[in-house]
Symmetry: C2
Subunit: 338 residues, 2 copies
Amino acid sequence: MSTLGTSPTALLSPGAVRSAVLPVVRQRVCALEPTLARICSYHLGFTDEHGDPSGAASGKLTRAGLMTAVAQGAGLAPEDVRTQAAALELLHNSTLIHDDIIDADDLRRGRPAAWKVFGAGLAILAGDALQALAVQMVVDDPGPGRAEISSAFTEALRLVLAGQSRELTVRLGPDAGIAQYERIVEEKTSALLQCALVTPALRAGKPEHVLTALRGAGRHLGLAFQISNDVEDIWGDPAVTGKPVRGDIGRRNPSFPVLAAFPVSERLRELWHADDAADAHLAEMAGLVEECGGRDEAERRSRGHLESALEHLGRAGLSPAATAELTALFDRIVNRTA
Amino acid sequence: MSTLGTSPTALLSPGAVRSAVLPVVRQRVCALEPTLARICSYHLGFTDEHGDPSGAASGKLTRAGLMTAVAQGAGLAPEDVRTQAAALELLHNSTLIHDDIIDADDLRRGRPAAWKVFGAGLAILAGDALQALAVQMVVDDPGPGRAEISSAFTEALRLVLAGQSRELTVRLGPDAGIAQYERIVEEKTSALLQCALVTPALRAGKPEHVLTALRGAGRHLGLAFQISNDVEDIWGDPAVTGKPVRGDIGRRNPSFPVLAAFPVSERLRELWHADDAADAHLAEMAGLVEECGGRDEAERRSRGHLESALEHLGRAGLSPAATAELTALFDRIVNRTA
């Protein structure tokens, strides 16, 4: 914390963020009870299912990258939020471990999901342990803004869980309109991005209008990302997404393109309500969604939210270098070019 | 917080603790996302599976009772730790919701477990939400000792999860001896009791030797309670415990009486390793454990830990009235006479 308040010289590259944050993540995970450490290390790609070192992906560390860039743009050094950046990645991963159990998803980042390897019982505990560890790291870190940052983390977690529950309970049909969709995304996706953006500002003691601007940026970034993700789920390359194609349609999870196309096509509504997950059935629905303009509307709306996110970011008064870096990061997050 | 530091007049009765803490629990649970609120309200006995009011049991609020008594013994008013007492009950209940899924237990307090009613997916989220809510309440409460109390809660949660994981991974056989058994109990059972006892002392700014005494009391209280609980699991009345009899033996979860009897009886070891959960098989094992002195040894050891807990309590320098009340509470917790 010795460099707190001094000006950074150059922004960390995404690779450098990785090198700074991953060792903290790894060290904290390894200190868990051995079985929990093994499951979490597997989930994070550090090890294979036998506990041997693995070169698997650990995810993109999107949230750590955002947090580090904002920190530097707010006059902090990357070390000033390193614990928080690692903690936010752990919090995010805790929700992924439980998500895969809840959705019965077999794959995560192209490998068998943790619950498929270790069983649902232990995977529940591993997700709990990561959630607890993330909050503990933030609660125990004694730097400036400790209480406010702890509150930001627990509020973000509350929102993610509320959004996940809301999503499960509206899953049965697309009667939930765009407004409810956006509410769910703001909870389950935007909340952690907002936490990433706001945490450095809390540490740096920035005034309320900066926090408001960063929260707005995170809200729209989450919406832009999720809608783009929905498009990828239907028309993306499984080799890039690491997930089976059209999973949302198969599970009848109303995604943005489907919701946008729904009012237009009676045939789509019929197919949606038929209990059929055959590839041809899913492909026909995907075709109808595209014909009815659901894809175009989703792409248009995702771009619009990205623009709004950048507008809000501009109001946060971060350094020009950080604003430029964050602009590039936002674009990579939404368009998955990273 | 206005009465902080003033002397209490009379100790709250268990009924009064209930009346003080349950409304806080209920209010915070009702403010969750509606589906999560419904599941948690059901689990806590506030409502039935349809969401209608229910007179079902909410548990004994053991931890809230301990916390309130220590608070009064340390010169605080019950209101000074009311949020923390409610939060600790929520934290405890979050672990129960997940525990029932992990152990595939169908019953909780004589009613179908939450996951049997709402499905495992939503019950996972409900447990997550209670865990997050409990920590959020403590993190957001601005009274004295906020940071230390937040750390105590997250550390207790870390230990509970470590203990649960350790228990699952040694479940396969009773090769784990008494030492490992005690370690698991200190984690999964003692940790929350220690948190209950220590929190008021942190709020009141008590010196380290008081915290050490209270931690010691919680450690032995947890061991006394768990060993007594193990005895009940085998020889107790299911109408009192609310759980099927000999569940631990059926699941081959090595409990204290079994571990104590194990070295003595080869026949017991044979039966244990046979994959048979028929009533007659379990009854024969229970009989052997008793014949080999496992029950006597467990009862003796539970009494010994209770005495140690009271010795440590005596060193905490709480008011005589609170010490007397806590002595009675410890006894009720271990001997389930409440």
